[in-house]
């Protein structure tokens, strides 16, 4: 029997293997190094299958051995078009592969793979598997902040022979949101790919091949511009960084004489050859020869740390350029500036350099340098505390389009559209536009009181249309802004724009905007910011000058990133460093670090110091003889040990001597200490100082000082606000309405008879129920398609309660088909209790309130079927409806049922009015429940609605009159949305 089974299994496997269609295997799979990176990227290329194979996806797999390859990503394909070009490229870089909540629990072979296949699904959430990959990848985990601080457990490694232990934190793999794996330079990785067709067949995988990533020279900087500012004697540089800048350690500017260009080319070639040699040796080519060393022929002018700026200046003095970094002087001939050429060197953390093209300087005068606008930064008001507001310059208005008014194409009657960019610190009442012809004569002026971005202009004659004209713009300020003397300049015409005739468009076209005579689009702004925890400022954003106000998002720290150092299978934990930085030491500029497990940290650090001290030999004896041990130890090891001892001693000392760390470490309670770490860290990481740079991107730039607020603070820290000032009108309206509700309620309570307008649709509900009773047929109640969070559904359910009570009294069946799962149990309960209240609990059948379908038209099909089969006598449609409304009500109309509808869906009201006998329009749906209840308390709320409507009508009338006479204060007070 067992033999037969084995034979059968072998037979089936043979059939499956033979059946595998080799033509469906991806061909020409290659792996190559990704150029210009830090050695963490490979490029995988392969030839796609023919379009007739109807492939929808190519799935790629990677492993550190050819025996186990995990899914790392896929290329999706439209089976109708296939992949044009005959090659598919996949970049395995930038942390593409990760373990997250979607990863499988255990190692699982990919679909369609035979047992023993090396092709697996994604890296599983298994500590053992992830741990085994640690030595092959840079592994980085993202942890929720609260989990990191509150759940991390202490993990002390087993003591070494010297008694040395390591302190790490541990979390279960499930506690990590994502774990990223980045390639390591010099390591070999294995790849394969398989195709999936539109029937979801997984075809055989391509033969496994391997590749090695190597650290390369960075991509060179481009667009180097050099300006010699003659009068201020400054040399300005500006350039563009390449796309990938993550690996650049420093940026240097060099100068050489024109005569040395050959030496420059030789050095550039040397760097290229060095990169090539490194790649070959990394890939294992032992025969590759290192190119002969060539020194940089240029003279260093300045250094920019990492990629913190793409511009810099060098000062000239007494025949020399001053290199402030190296504290040296470089000879520079200002009489013949063209004899010098310049280049940018980008150097990565491995020492590989890339060299830009050469650039010569252009001599200019400082008058051409841009003038910096005023700028201010403040904590954004009325927010969660996650944004700073940056305001640059003045309010702006710009004409954007000129078109003919009406359809007559009269060239003198124009409609002009404008864009208006206010700033939050200045209130604008109106905008003045003054139109001037080419001879400087004003021919028209327009004052825009209601800023609707459009106005009409009548030209005196067609001549103006063809000759063009100019517009000058200024602002009239409102309220406090107008009374503020410092804003007086805004009333002057500082903005101007030319409108010229475009012969291609045969239309007038607005030209560039000028502010105080400067062409706005000729320059750009760069915003630089630096937190208390940042060593260097960073470029936050590059914006056009037409953006004069924006929010700089300063998010709360939600996640903590940690490199995974080790793993513990027994405790099912991944382990990481628990040191955490609080801020920078203001004196030394080095980060202030502590550990979330302070006492263990101190103990382990002392152990480490003792360990390093044990390496250092004893001092020479009294006769000056070195100990025997000293001869055996590498001096480099001793030097390193001494450096470590000093570093660890400083770290320990810092914990008690530094006021910030000492305050944290004096807190005995672990929870309180962690809370203090979180608050201090957040305060320092979220406090930013700002400055701006105005540049033409070609080395004409001006850098502002760091912004200091009115209280003398450089760092701006955004705080959470307890009230949103933008909602004041809404709050006032809510309070008025609430007051009116109480007022109406007290009136009804005191016995005053309030008149409520009769609503025909509601009054006919009784008749509709009576009709169904007389005919002996059921009623149908459709409670709309929205869920319980929609007020219309709540109103519909209230009406359902009243109608069901009537139905129960007359012993008439009511059917309630529901399209939302959450509405179902509520509707069932309402119907059940209504039957009980009516004294007919026995008549209730829970199957009368039932779920039909969540999908819109499936629900309609179900409801229509019920109408036709059950021949319902009365149909109620109450709630919010979409396109299905007409399909249902027309069917009900055809079956001859009396139909009552009520909805607040404005688009569906016409259909209901057309096809139903009675319709509750908009607010009547909400009034119906109150109306049917006859409860004076509830009726009182209806009366308050009427009072509120009266107030709104008065506001509309007053607002209309005031706006007509150009008093816009009232309408501006109301929110736009």
């Amino acid at each position: 029997m067992r033999k037969t089974l084995c034979f059968l299994a072998f037979f089936i496997l043979t059939i499956i293997v033979c059946h595998s269609d080799n033509s469906m295997i991806v061909r020409n799979l290659t792996v190559e190094d990704n150029p210009y990176d830090d050695g963490t990227g490979l490029i995988i290329r392969f030839e796609p299958l023919d379009r007739s194979a109807r492939i929808i996806e190519y799935r790629l797999y990677r492993g550190v051995t050819p025996e186990t390859l995990f899914f790392i990503g896929s290329v999706e394909v439209n089976p109708n078009t296939g992949i044009p070009g005959g090659e598919v490229t996949f970049y395995d870089k930038d942390s593409r592969v990760y373990v997250d909540v979607d990863s499988p629990r255990r190692m699982r072979n990919e679909r369609g793979q035979l047992p023993g296949s090396p092709i697996y699904r994604a890296v599983p959430r298994d500590v053992g598997v992830v741990g085994s990959l640690l030595e092959h990848f840079y592994t980085f985990g993202v942890i929720d902040k609260n989990i990191f601080y509150r759940k991390t457990t202490k993990h002390l490694s087993e003591p070494t022979e010297e008694g040395h232990q390591e302190l790490l934190g541990g979390l279960r793999i499930e506690d990590f949101l994502i774990i990223y794996f980045d390639l390591m330079p010099g390591k070999e990785y294995f790849y394969s790919v398989l195709a999936v067709d539109e029937r979801r067949n997984f075809h055989p995988y391509a033969p496994i091949i391997s590749g090695i990533a190597s650290d390369n020279q960075p991509q060179p900087a481009t667009n180097l511009y050099v300006k010699w500012i003659e009068d201020t004697q400054v040399l300005n540089f500006e350039f563009d960084y390449p796309l990938f800048t993550g690996d650049i350690a420093q940026t240097s500017i060099y100068m050489i004489d024109r005569a040395e260009i050959d030496a420059f080319e030789a050095y550039k070639q040397f760097m290229f050859e060095l990169d090539k040699w490194n790649r070959l040796t990394t890939e294992g080519d032992t025969l590759a020869v290192r190119p002969s060393e060539i020194n940089n022929p240029g003279q260093l002018l300045t250094v920019i740390p990492a990629t913190t700026r793409n511009f810099t200046s060098v000062q000239y003095e007494d025949g020399h350029l001053i290199n402030e970094v190296a504290d040296s002087l470089v000879v520079f001939d200002i009489e013949d500036t063209q004899s010098h050429v310049f280049y940018v060197v980008l150097e990565d953390y491995s020492g590989f350099q890339s060299i830009s093209e050469l650039a010569i300087s252009e001599t200019v005068n400082s008058e051409l340098l841009p003038i910096l606008p005023n700028f201010m930064v403040r904590d954004k008001p009325s927010d969660k505390g996650d944004a700073n507001e940056i305001i640059i310059g003045k309010p702006l208005v710009q004409l954007t389009r000129v078109s003919f008014r009406g359809r007559a194409r009269d060239r003198t009657k124009l409609t002009i559209t404008y864009d208006y960019s206010p700033i939050p610190t200045v209130g604008i009442r109106s905008i003045n536009f003054r139109f001037v012809d080419n001879f400087g004569n004003t021919f028209d002026s327009v004052t825009e009181h209601f800023l609707d971005n459009v106005f009409n202009l009548d030209l005196p004659s067609e001549r103006y249309f063809y000759e063009g004209f100019k517009v000058y713009m200024s602002f009239n300020l409102a309220g406090k802004s107008g009374r503020n003397e410092s804003n007086r300049y805004l009333s002057e015409e500082y903005l101007s724009q030319s409108i010229h005739y475009d012969e291609d468009l045969l239309m007038l076209k607005p030209g560039n905007l000028y502010s105080d005579g400067d062409e706005m689009m000729a320059f750009r702004y760069q915003i630089l910011k630096q937190s208390r925890s940042d060593r260097l400022p960073r470029i936050q954003s590059r914006i056009t000058p037409l953006i004069n106000f924006f929010d700089d998002f300063v998010g709360y720290e939600m996640y903590i990133g940690r490199g995974i150092a080790s793993y513990d299978v027994e405790r099912n934990q991944l382990l990481f460093d628990t040191t955490i930085d609080i801020t920078l030491d203001p004196e030394t500029g080095s980060p202030l670090m502590t550990n979330i497990f302070y006492e263990d940290f101190v103990r382990i650090t002392r152990q480490q110091i003792a360990h390093y001290q044990s390496i250092i030999p004893l001092a020479p004896d009294e006769e000056g003889n070195d100990s025997e041990v000293q001869d055996e130890i590498d001096p480099f090891v001793i030097e390193e040990a001494m450096w470590m001892i000093e570093h660890l001693n400083n770290t320990l000392e810092n914990q008690t001597s530094n006021p910030i760390l000492s305050e944290i470490n004096q807190i005995r309670n672990h929870r309180d200490r962690i809370s203090r770490i979180i608050s201090l860290r957040e305060y320092n990481r979220r406090s930013f100082r700002y400055h701006i740079v105005k540049t033409n991107s070609q080395a004409l730039f001006t850098i502002s000082d760091i912004y200091v607020d009115a209280n003398g603070n450089e760092y701006i820290y955004p705080t959470s606000d307890w009230f949103n000032n933008n909602t004041i009108p809404m709050l006032v309206a809510t309070l008025i309405f609430g007051f009116l509700v109480f007022y109406s309620y007290s009136l009804t309570k005191s016995g005053k008879d309030l008149f409520i307008r009769p609503i025909a649709g509601i009054e006919e509900i009784d008749n509709a129920v009576g009709r169904a009773t007389e005919m002996g047929r059921p009623m149908l109640f459709v409670p709309g398609l929205t869920s319980i969070d929609d007020v219309a559904t709540l109103a519909a359910l209230s009406i359902l309660g009243h109608i069901t009570k009537k139905a129960a009294q007359y012993d008439t069946k009511i059917l309630v088909p529901v399209s939302d799962y959450i509405v179902l149990p509520i509707a069932q309960q309402i119907v059940k209790e209504s039957y009980s209240i009516a004294g007919r609990p026995d008549s209730f059948d829970s199957n009368d309130v039932f779920f039909v379908a969540f999908e819109q038209f499936a629900y309609v099909a179900g409801v229509n079927g019920i109408m036709i089969r059950q021949k319902t006598a009365t149909n109620f449609y109450m709630g919010y409806f979409f396109a299905e409304a007409l399909v249902m009500t027309e069917t009900g109309n055809m079956t001859g049922a009396i139909q009552v509808a009520g909805t607040d869906a404005v688009t569906q009201i016409p259909f209901f009015i057309t096809t139903c006998d009675y319709t509750l329009i908009g607010e009547e749906l909400y009034a119906a429940s109150a109306y049917l209840s006859k409860d004076p308390m509830i009726l009182g709320t209806l009366k308050s609605q009427d009072y509120t409507k009266l107030i709104i009508i008065i506001c509309i009338l007053v607002g209309t009159i005031l706006s007509t006479i150009n008093v816009t204060g009232m309408i501006n007070w109301f929110p736009a949305e």
Binding site: E198, R200, G801, Q829, E833, S836, S846, L886, D904, T915
Partner: protein, 208 residues
């Protein structure tokens, strides 16, 4: 107690969320996000209620052999087979689940939607019968707007009809839509207030 506790929960949360509208503070935002997480976590359980309701309803029909009970078998088979297809083979492109979605649900939904065109024609016929002065105004406005939307209208009446159409849409039509929207807004606030203050309790089931 059965009503009081839910009522307290509703009223408390109503006031908290009303306050959230005016409070941008991180505490308020975090509370709201926390609440949304709970909603997302709880909502799927209500699907079970829907499936149970469908199953009970259609099983009862099959058991009782009510008229057209065969359709109930189709419904239940469709429900459970589609669910099983999704669980067994997944929901990606190329699976039986997606086949059912593309070849059964989408065409059937499209068919139902296509019916709308005929129903609109039928409803338009009913609406545009000039039985009263108001209906005549409606008819005339509809004719103008219709001609304003098609090229032949411009050919017949000139470009002026475009302006008239736009005026009808922008002025009387928009005014009435905004009027309704205003009433709806107030109605929503009033209903919400009735629920917040515990005056309206029908949604809890039964009477006041």
């Amino acid at each position: 107690m059965k009503r009081t506790i839910p009522l307290i929960i509703v009223i408390t949360l109503c006031f908290l969320f009303a306050a959230h509208t005016f409070i941008p503070h991180k505490i308020s935002q975090d509370f709201f996000d926390w609440y949304l997480d709970w909603v997302r976590a709880i909502a799927p359980f209500s699907v079970v209620l829907g499936i149970m309701s469908m199953t009970m309803n259609h099983s009862a029909r099959i058991q009782r052999k009510t008229p057209n009970w065969h359709y109930s078998i189709v419904t239940l088979v469709g429900l459970y087979f589609t669910a099983a297809a999704g669980f067994i083979w997944g929901t990606q492109e190329g699976t039986p689940y997606m086949w059912i979605f593309r070849n059964v649900q989408m065409p059937m939904g499209a068919t139902m939607f296509a019916l709308l065109a005929f129903y609109i024609a039928s409803a338009a016929y009913k609406a545009f019968r000039a039985r009263s002065a108001e209906a005549t105004v409606l008819l005339l406005a509809a004719i103008v707007v219709m001609f304003g939307q098609v090229p032949i209208g411009v050919q017949m009446f000139g470009e002026g009809i475009l302006d008239v159409t736009q005026w009808i849409l922008d002025v009387p039509n928009l005014a009435s839509k905004r009027g309704i929207a205003l009433g709806v807004g107030l109605g929503m606030v009033a209903t919400s207030l009735r629920i917040m203050l515990g005056i309206e309790r029908t949604y809890l089931g039964g009477g006041q």
